[in-house]
């Protein structure tokens, strides 16, 4: 590999997370936080077709899987951004420490999300 960088691994997940976050998170926030709460017919109707709205939606395993994936990718995206911002701000920590701290935090967020989702 002659001095080749392994950064592409982090960068590609970061890129994927960015796309996913940009496309899905606003929609999720809108559907779960704004549209439903504001009582928009189309949104609250769709949510309420089960017994209890969002809870009903989350009882579908594929929905939980997709939500978990979105959250995990967005967390890695944020971790990568924070790691590079810290380096740019001249935070003098060994690269390995920053890698473990940032992507580690993303892993913790992902696991917690998975646990919460599993409880439904």
């Amino acid at each position: 590999m002659r001095g080749r960088s392994h950064e592409p691994i982090f960068w590609s997940v970061f890129g994927l997370g960015g796309i996913v976050a940009a496309i899905f998170i606003p929609v999720i926030i809108f559907v779960t936080g704004i549209g439903g709460a504001a009582g928009w017919e189309a949104v609250s109707g769709a949510l309420a077709h089960g017994e209890d709205g969002i809870g009903a939606l989350l009882r579908h395993a594929p929905v939980r899987a997709v939500l978990g994936l979105i959250m995990a990718l967005a967390a890695v995206h944020a971790a990568h951004r924070i790691r590079h911002t810290l380096i740019d701000l001249h935070v003098h920590a060994p690269p390995a420490v920053l890698i473990v701290a940032s992507y580690g935090a993303a892993a913790v967020v992902s696991v917690l999300t998975a646990i919460v989702l599993a409880l439904f």
Binding site: M1, R2, G3, R4, S5, H6, E7, P8, I9, W11, S12, G15, H84, T85, I87, D88, L89, H90
Partner: protein
């Protein structure tokens, strides 16, 4: 009787000579002219107040790329920074940051020159036919358009002064050189992608870039080095996974 009172602008200019222990800021009062740029003021200082002030310039029209400096903390071509934008002053002029200073506003370009050379910013032909003057290498307008923007660089190095990565990594090849590497990699007449690959795909190549994008924001020629680096990252990532997952499909 009316006396026209000249408006004066205060200049605080970074001064350093190799035999000094410490740099200092020297203050000069320069008459304000509507059509003057910071370079005119520096020339006025050198011609009428202090002949020892040292700085680089040549074309006065944003073409040669030699007059870059920090103007009130922002990387600028001094020949394109109108005094009117900085009224009432003071205007602080300093050498471009992220470079060593040789004297006053003159920075050491040696490191950049080495980086530039390392990406081989010239057309490479596998058959070595670069000096075969009889050959024609035709290109369609859209093939030309693919790299045209990246070829507008005047090596003014404002992008290096703006780059947070260049501020902490001396080895980082940096925006202008990486944009030029991409410029040749995208040129259909060029066959040097393989030869540039190892330099570009190191950490100190494209991967240290944290995509802050200030290089593109300060570039007076709209080169968009940040865009060039992102393009190169995409190809670099594909290359990485291909080597990892399908090593038999790559040469060497």
């Amino acid at each position: 009787m009316s006396t026209a009172i000249e408006t004066m602008v205060k200049f605080e200019v970074f001064r350093y000579q190799p035999d000094w222990d410490e740099p200092t800021y020297q203050v000069y009062d320069v008459p304000y002219r509507e059509d003057w740029v910071v370079l005119d003021a520096l020339n006025y200082i050198k011609d009428t107040i202090d002949g020892s002030l040292t700085y680089r310039w040549s074309c006065r029209m944003g073409v040669c790329g030699s007059c870059g400096a920090m103007v009130n903390g922002y990387p600028k071509l001094t020949c394109a920074a109108f005094l009117s934008e900085y009224l009432p002053g003071p205007i602080r002029v300093e050498p471009l940051v992220n470079f060593n200073v040789e004297r006053d506003l003159v920075t050491d370009l040696e490191g950049f020159m080495e980086k530039l050379e390392s990406v081989q910013p010239w057309i490479i032909r596998e058959d070595g036919a670069t000096d075969d003057l009889k050959s024609e290498y035709l290109q369609t307008p859209s093939q030309h358009a693919a790299y045209q923007q990246f070829s507008m660089c005047i090596n003014c190095l404002l992008c290096y002064a703006a780059c947070p990565v260049s501020s902490h990594s001396e080895e980082f090849i940096g925006p202008a050189a990486l944009a030029l590497a991409q410029r040749y990699n995208l040129d259909t007449r060029d066959e040097g992608v393989e030869q540039r690959r190892d330099v570009i795909l190191k950490d100190e190549g494209i991967w240290e870039c944290s995509f802050v994008g200030e290089c593109s924001a300060v570039c007076p020629k709209h080169v968009d080095p940040a865009g060039a680096i992102q393009q190169a990252k995409m190809t670099g990532a594909i290359d990485y996974y291909r080597r990892l997952l399908m090593p038999w499909t790559v040469k060497s």
